[in-house]
């Protein structure tokens, strides 16, 4: 089993799946000769040529729309949005079009479009190269939002995503690209959507986290062992729709729930998870449902002091868990 980083997991899976399925092609800004600004498509144009790895003009609206059109035709486009922040010009095409095609034709036209994009902060990207965009899109029925956070999950879910017949927003936390490594089996395993993963079994407090925050949470959980606090860590992996059962079972067991994300608090994904718990696990709750999230400011500042202040981290997460545990 080779050890891969998160970004290697992306590149290798794209390469393998393109070799297998001639209907897959890639487009996006700088995905060709440059191999992507994060190098996620490195080597692919050399292997597959410039019909299958297509440098797009600088225009996100149409990157998504062109992908959508090709998907309607029957191809399997993989489009890259260079930074998640820059998907905003494509909001209309993604939400009003891609996500509504199946429903608006009662299943006649489908749109198997995969959109990959690096998101998240902590890398000095300032307001427009650090955003978490998942909550905006997790509000949209008909659009899968997934955010696998380990090489194993990335490979399994990317492979699966390339077989799903609905639009998928595939989020890759850019700070984890080279930070997170892990072993990946050589076989063609897949990880289905809408299946959360218990990344750590525990009994005292349930923490739901994904992306970089998953790793920060695991660090916090490890530390809290010294204080005899046993944390259960749930990685939803698919952020929309949610695997409600796994989350609810865990909370019913621990009676205490914390949700962690980088995105700002108000109407972040934590809002839905907290509301779900408050509605469906109310009788099992021994404490208020807590959220640790980015503050309600327009986006993450550049200056490192402010950026660090903005970012949730193991320490802040541990503090919240302690509070919940003591409740």
């Amino acid at each position: 089993m080779p050890e891969l980083t998160n970004i290697e997991a992306v590149t290798r899976t794209l390469q393998q799946e393109m070799a297998r399925n001639p209907n897959i092609f890639i487009t996006g800004e700088d995905v060709g000769r440059r191999g992507g600004v994060f190098r996620a498509t490195k080597g692919l144009i050399e292997e597959f040529g410039d019909k299958r790895v297509v440098d797009s003009p600088l225009s996100e609206l149409s990157i998504v729309a062109v992908g959508l059109g090709a998907a309607l035709y029957g191809l399997r486009p993989v489009v890259e949005i260079q930074f998640a922040d820059f998907i905003a010009p494509a909001f209309n095409q993604l939400v009003q079009e891609a996500a509504r095609f199946r429903y608006r034709t009662n299943g006649d036209w489908t749109c198997p479009l995969l959109i990959r994009t690096p998101y998240g902060g902590g890398i000095g990207g300032g307001l427009y190269h650090s955003q978490s965009i998942e909550a905006t899109y997790a509000h949209v029925p008909g659009l899968y939002v997934v955010a696998p956070s380990t090489p194993y999950d990335i490979v399994g879910m990317l492979r699966y995503a390339l077989r799903v017949n609905d639009p998928v927003l595939f989020l890759e936390h850019k700070k984890t690209y080279r930070l997170i490594k892990g072993e990946v089996p050589d076989d063609d395993y897949m990880i289905p959507f809408v299946k959360a993963d218990v990344k750590r079994v525990g009994s005292d407090v349930t923490v739901v986290a994904y992306g970089l925050m998953l790793h920060e949470t695991l660090t916090a959980a490890q530390e809290l062992l010294h204080e005899d606090i046993n944390v259960e860590v749930i990685d939803p992996r698919t952020l929309h729709p949610l695997d409600q059962d796994t989350i609810l079972s865990s909370v019913k067991k621990t009676g205490k729930a914390l949700i962690v994300h980088e995105d700002n608090l108000t109407l972040g994904l934590g809002a839905e998870i907290a509301a779900l718990i408050a509605s469906e696990a109310f009788e099992f709750l021994d404490a208020p449902v807590m959220r640790v999230a980015g503050p309600d400011v327009p986006a993450m500042p550049y200056a490192r002091t402010m950026q660090d202040y903005f970012m949730p981290n193991a320490e802040k997460i541990a503090a919240a868990i302690r509070k919940l545990n003591a409740y």
């Binding site: 062109v66 009003q96 008909g142």
Partner: protein
Amino acid sequence: MTLNLTENKPAQTRAEPRHIQLGLHDEQVTEMYWHMLLARRLDERMWILHRQHEVAFHVSGIGHEGCQVGAAQALKRGHDYFFPYYRDLCFTLSLGITPRTMMLALYGKHGDPMSGGRQMPSHYSARDLNIVSVSSPVATQIPQASGVGLAIQYQKTDQVVVVCFGEGSTAEGDFHEGLNWAGIFKLPVIFFCQNNQYAISVPIEREMPVKNVADRAYAYGMPGVIFDGNDFLESYSAMKLAVERARRGEGPSLLEAKTYRPVPHSSDDDDRTYRSREEVEFWKKRDPILLARKYCYEHNIFDESKNQEFENRAREIVDDANEFARSAPYPPEEEALNGVWGALPKI
């Protein structure tokens, strides 16, 4: 191109009729006329049904039949790809959507094949005919059409894509981005603008700083073609050339049909607030169906009694479609929940 030439007869002094020059038989012209007429009668009935409070909404293609039927004639049904817009009743009828389907959608009834009663009327769609679902946000279909064009180029078929839109919609960024892709990659896409000179109440001078939409073709490295959209043969001719070009791999074209909407924007509109009755009357005299009928009479393609037959047949078809749709049930309410997601792959 015509029989006369292959039979080596001496040159005729009188020019051949335009449709013969264009390679169209009388039967084809008759069918084109028939589609225009049927579309018109269907459309008129829809207005009546709205006035009778039988249906809640109608958006009409009246006045656009000439450019639509001509365009449709130059394309391969069920083979090429089509992105119509909401005025394309005659275009989609010519491409194979039935009056019954259109009426079902008008009423929002169960089994409507276009959207299962989810969309407002006139949001055409037919998977089997490669007619891609119309959206309400305007212009979104334009870059999507380029995406289909890219896929066709990828698969190396001889298909082309036609995407329709009003001139007002060309102010949206989607127009620019869609044409930019098609120009860069020389995609087999025909951008078909039906310029009726208004975006609801806004006249063309407020929509754009150029006289013609086709004036913008140069900015996208493609030919721009302007023609009289009320002349069904001009439309056929323009589309035919653009299609041939696209099939030869020479890339996209921007076609602009100059036409007029002699009726309000939709059943919710009142056009008296923004244009004179004289203007409307002027254009009614240039009705594409009137002009086409005159052409057919003049060239003995069919006569008045045949036309009366057409009228009768159209009435029957419209009656039937209306009866069919009127008596159909509404969709079961829980159908609102279906069709959000496809089945997930098994592993």
